[in-house]
């Protein structure tokens, strides 16, 4: 069968992926360079009977998403830069209350208003640590338009399965670039739908901290009356200040992600088998890295790449294993050094070098190749 191939922009692919994933609800606020996600969904969602809302601010947008998600919606918001900063409180609320939702962050230069139409990768640590308090998060860094579509679908699935906010971190390059996309047949992809709990309302607890199973979130208005609060709560959902409940709740928020890391992790390796220099690169920077690796190999330098697709939780195990055999690691990033610290934490005796370019331009293959050459001589 002929493949359904389209030329699309990254932001458009995210909107397309959301619709395929069964997105019922979008609420957003205009911000560059993510606005196309909202613009496209403002046309697509109403046509299929779904809800599109432009809210009064970024905080309201995620609030509305969480309200809809509690009603059982697969819900999405998209933002950039300052908008992501504003969303932090509700990301914490979604984590604490275990409300599934997908949040797109088309990264732009910062801090503050920064560089609205120019790319950066400065929000990787914010994705993990931006909201107050301990929690685990899932964040995904697609590196192409095609991957943006498929990873959006996966993000919705993970959100429902683990009852958690899932962040997609693209950047201005991926968001605005046009590339080939293979539109999947619904029969070829897995879609995880919101379900009613398997128990009757009188037996339903909205949370479960001990069995290891993620309790389905009962859509409100279907007979399962329960309480949701951002206060630390027990398995019944009501606030508690008992020390054991607090500890269990905190452990659970971490465990449900980290104990399922095998299901959540996703990465790609490129020519790592015989590599003497390992690049760890994600998002648009991984594309320049790939090109630089080919340039290096032509010049006789054996370089390879590990590309996290799921960046949070961080692929500790893989980096650790690779660093046992590859003694030089280069982490090129469009920031002043963020993922490099995660790599250093996992590097078993390897030397870890950074290439940090934050001038509003993509990191070029030449820049990376020069750095590879430099490292190869050390």
């Amino acid at each position: 069968m002929a493949k359904n191939i389209k030329l699309m922009q990254g932001n458009e692919a995210i909107a397309e992926g959301a619709v395929i994933a069964g997105c019922d609800f979008f609420a957003g606020y205009p911000i560059t360079p993510s606005s196309e996600v909202a613009e496209i969904l403002s046309s697509k969602l109403p046509k299929i009977g779904k809800v599109f809302l432009q809210m009064e601010d970024e905080i309201a947008a995620l609030g509305a998403v969480l309200g809809a998600a509690l009603g059982g919606a697969k819900a999405l918001t998209a933002t950039s830069g300052p908008g992501m900063s504003l969303k932090q409180e509700h990301i914490g609320y979604a984590s604490m209350c275990e409300i599934p939702c997908v949040i797109i962050n088309v990264m732009r230069g910062g801090p503050s208003t920064g560089l609205p139409t120019l790319p950066a990768q400065g929000d990787v640590m914010q994705a993990k640590w931006g909201t107050h308090g301990d929690h685990a998060i899932i964040a995904i860094t697609p590196s192409s338009v095609n991957e943006s579509l498929y990873e959006t679908i996966r993000a919705f699935n993970l959100a429902v399965k683990y009852r958690t906010p899932v962040l997609i971190l693209t950047d201005e390059i991926i968001g605005h670039m046009r590339e080939k996309v293979v539109i999947p047949d619904k029969s070829d992809i897995e879609i995880i739908d919101v379900k009613l709990p398997g128990v009757p309302p009188e037996k339903y607890n909205p949370y479960n901290y001990t069995s290891g199973e993620v309790t389905p979130l009962a859509p409100m208005g279907e007979g399962y009356r329960y309480h949701v609060t951002g206060l630390i709560h027990g398995e019944t959902g009501f606030p508690s200040q008992k020390t054991d409940v607090i500890q269990n709740a905190q452990n659970w928020l971490m465990d449900k992600i980290y104990k399922n890391i095998k299901d959540i992790e996703k990465f790609e390796e490129f020519q790592t088998e015989d590599a003497d220099i390992l690049l760890v690169a994600y998002g648009s920077t991984s594309r320049s890295s790939r090109q630089a690796i080919m340039m290096a190999r032509s010049a006789g330098i054996k370089a390879g790449m590990f590309r996290p697709i799921t960046i949070w939780p961080f692929p500790d195990e893989q980096i650790s294993a690779l660093s046992k055999k590859i003694k030089k690691i280069l982490v090129p990033e469009m920031n002043m050094g963020q993922v490099i610290f995660e790599v250093q934490r996992n590097a078993c005796g390897s030397s870890v070098y950074g290439l940090n370019v934050v001038n509003g331009e993509p990191i070029t293959p030449d820049q990376i190749y020069e750095k590879i050459k430099e490292i190869s001589k050390i």
């Binding site: 109403p46 809800v51 609030g63 809809a68 509700h90 309480h227 949701v228 951002g230």
Partner: protein, 275 residues
């Protein structure tokens, strides 16, 4: 006026009691009025969603057996809008304090009103941030004392009802925790209204507000509510001087038949489908 004894147990989550409110707090009176009003409206418990923000009043949803969401500070209306738009058949009520609704949540307040979305907002207006220890709120009268206005507030307060009406709410009323029977009646009216309804309820925080403003006991504060309340009709014949330091009560604004956001949205969807 209440002829038979109302069974509150039907709606209370008794395992979550006792509540956190101080003895003599007006919030309990408002809670009971709300339960009677919901009962009168005949809603199924499964179909009622109550969202709230942060503060003393916002703890209310935890005590009542509906679909309840205790959200973030000031943002209860945004959650309410989300669930209402996704499941329009649900009856959505938002509980908020004066700081929650009008300071940190002021933007959501005016925009919910502008949209005229079918949500009932009940503002528990006690002129203070009670839970955090009595700081100055956006409804605190000029000259009154708080833990952050030790020399008397110089900021003019918001009039919740004027603001709601100006922003586009189509049902606006005010009552007090003294007027429990009227409160219930207004709540029924607000809940039955299609569109954004705002009920401003003047209530007492004798601990955080009254204590610093010569009304140490709940009795003094309830008396204040009784004496300062001016029924809207009587206010028509009063001069601004007469009304100084007092507040109007009653259904202050009502406009039936205005386009309601949720209905309009789904009407629009139908029109797109048929094209």
């Amino acid at each position: 006026m209440i002829k038979t004894k109302f069974d509150y147990n039907k709606y209370l989550r008794k395992n979550t009691l006792p509540h956190i409110w101080c003895p003599g707090c007006g919030d309990g009176i408002i809670l009971k009025s709300l339960l009677r009003a919901i009962d009168k409206c005949g809603y199924s418990k499964d179909d009622v969603v109550i969202t709230s923000g942060i503060g003393c009043a916002s703890r209310l949803p935890g005590y009542v057996d509906f679909n309840t969401i205790h959200t973030t500070h000031g943002r209860a209306l945004t959650f309410a809008i989300g669930i209402k738009m996704f499941k329009p058949r649900l009856k959505v009520i938002t509980i908020s304090g004066d700081g929650d609704a009008l300071a940190i949540g002021g933007n959501h307040f005016i925009h919910a009103a502008r949209r005229n979305i079918d949500i009932t907002l009940i503002v528990f207006n006690n002129y203070t941030y009670g839970m955090t220890g009595g700081q100055c709120s956006p409804t605190q009268p000029v000259g009154s004392l708080s833990t952050t206005t030790p020399f008397g507030s110089i900021e003019p307060p918001f009039d919740v009802c004027n603001l709601a009406q100006a922003a586009g709410a189509t049902w606006v009323g005010r009552s007090t925790s003294y007027h429990a029977v009227q409160l219930e009646k207004f709540m029924v009216d607000a809940l039955n209204h299609t569109g954004f309804s705002v009920l401003d309820v003047i209530t007492n925080c004798h601990i955080s507000y009254g204590r610093r403003n010569k009304m140490k006991s709940p009795v003094e504060m309830i008396k204040y509510q009784k004496e300062k309340a001016v029924p809207a009709r009587s206010a028509e014949n009063m001069t601004p001087e007469d009304l100084a330091g007092r507040f109007k009560t009653g259904i202050l604004f009502e406009k039936a038949g205005s386009p309601e956001f949720c209905t309009e949205y789904y009407k629009k969807l139908e029109s797109i489908k048929t094209k």
